[in-house]
């Protein structure tokens, strides 16, 4: 039954989108409904496709869901979750402590997780050199201002 979750998600998305579409403010110039024709067509189209997808999956409903198996194998879950956590830390630090140091921490953290603790020297060197080189090339060579 898990199989049916995705098609249901799309069906619900299309219905919510259609409701929002018909709820749009009317235009004061020209055809009052002009802004909603195109979204309405897309919404109906997604609804139809969602229903077809539902029946496609319905036929396979007894088959096990294999698609997400890779996510929980080996160290994949650790990698993905730690990357996401590091991304949030990076987002938090980026404008507070500046590009250079936050990037060193972010990249260093990622390398320690992905590349392993054994290669600590390589990880530290890469994160310091890479952060400095990108900072230099963006802010000095390409004139892109970074915090």
């Amino acid at each position: 039954m898990v199989r049916l979750a995705m098609p249901l998600f799309f069906i619900i998305t299309s219905i919510v989108y259609l409701i929002l579409t018909f709820d749009l403010t009317k235009s004061r110039t020209g055809d009052p409904n002009a802004p909603l024709y195109f979204p309405a067509i897309i919404g109906i189209f997604l609804l139809i496709m969602g229903i077809i997808y539902f029946f496609q999956e319905w036929k396979k409903r007894s088959e096990a869901v294999e698609e997400f198996k890779g996510l929980i194998q080996g160290r994949t879950p650790v990698l993905i979750i730690s990357s996401l956590v590091l991304i949030f830390i990076y987002t938090f630090l980026f404008e507070r402590i500046g590009f250079l140091f936050s990037t060193m921490i972010f990249l260093g953290g990622l390398l320690f997780v992905v590349n392993g603790i054994q290669k600590w020297l390589q990880n530290i060197l890469i994160s310091v050199i890479f952060s400095f080189v990108t900072w230099y090339s963006f802010s000095e060579l390409l004139n892109v201002s970074l915090p």
């Binding site: 995705m6 897309i42 990249l107 990622l110």
Partner: protein
Amino acid sequence: MGVDIQNFIEGLMTALHPMNILWVLIGGFLGTVVGMLPGLGPATAVAVLIPITFGMDPTSALVLMAAIYYGAMYGGSRSSILINTPGDGSAIAATFDGYPMTRNGQAGQALTISAIASLIGGIFAIIGFILLAKPLAAFALKFGPAEYFLLFLFTLSAIVSLSRGKMVKGFIAMAIGLMLSTVGIDLQTGVHRFTFDIPQLSEGIDFLVVIIGVYAVGEVLYNYLNLDRLKNKNKLGKKWITKDQWKRSKWPIIRNGPIGFLIGVLPGAGGSIASMLSYTTERQISKEPERFGKGAIEGVAAPESSNNAASVGSFIPLLTMGVPGSGTTAVILGAVIMLGLRPGPLLFEESPEMVWTLVNSMFIGNIILVIINILLISVLVKILNTPPRVLYPLILVLAFIGTYTLSYSVIDFYILVIFGIIGLLMKLLDFPIAPLILALIVGSDMEQNFRKSVVAHDHIMNVLLASPVTITLSILTILSISYPFIMSWVQNRKSKQADAA
């Protein structure tokens, strides 16, 4: 004849400008490196490297992006041949005989023939470009809103129907992309649509953030799944090909360059279809089809010639009509719009020097890439040996830096992560990504043209029948959607006949 000699020579001069040659060199090299990474293809390469183009003049930016694109095409074949892991669809065919050649100890020769084939295919395509682009642009000048609307519709339906066996998923991805494109202030009436009173949404969802999220963050997260399985311990063997090998490859290369080019010009098709078609055709017409799949050099040469030609060909709809034909060209279109350029027929009238600079730089770039790829094979192999465990984190960091430079706001980081996760889920659930990206980028234009054409022609049916071009495009759209059904019907019939016999 569409060639404008004076503009051509001016373009050649600009392309030969040391700065532009340097960009071609940098772009080609960086593209090759990213393209070589297992699981990452040209779309990711361009997406991650977009920020480099900021602050550049548009011509150099276009030259650089094109160099990254075909650099990544060259690089993609490297990982196909050496470790049997294609970076994207267009490099799949290179694994069929490229990897067996590697296992036979002929990796060096496989890489060399792939580089030579790509160069020759590319040159065919550049000649094709020179002949075809301007007439096509002149033709597209007559296009009105109805023609453009149907052209977008056809491109989208073609790209969906070519994602084999997953049409419904493709259409869903397309619909989501179009939905995302409707977020923001409506350009014609000023009505806020789906903005939920969030000020950042009133200007719409920045498609470059979505592109980087899906193609860079999503792809890296997806590649975590195979991170520890990738090993590359293959000997290169001899680098130069033998006379016999050249004899075998010569005609397949020459035949498949033009084929790849023409497929590349078609919206929606592109490298994957071109290289597959070339491979199967060569196998069918070969006198020794049994050699294919076991390390036949012509099985590497044919698809490589064709997919590089297709990547050059795909610039034609992009530049002449502003319609991207593939995921990668959609990404390039997104970046080019950012730079304030509007690709389309007028580009040839207003800035011909830019177009011809690009064409000439593609020519120079292809030659440079062959030199990089043949002379520096051992250096490139060393880079490929750099564990992906180091390179994936770097790509992730580049994705964030790139996103920041788009709007100087960390709020986009959240959007980036959301689309990274969406990209990961799409990969896991086997949803094609190109229709989403393409729809998001052309969605707004498509809607504007749709509304203008309905106003002009009173009724949607009249839009479809407005001119010979719209009628042709309507028929092509219907054909492209029904094509997979017709094909499976034909195959069913064939297998039934075979069973009966």
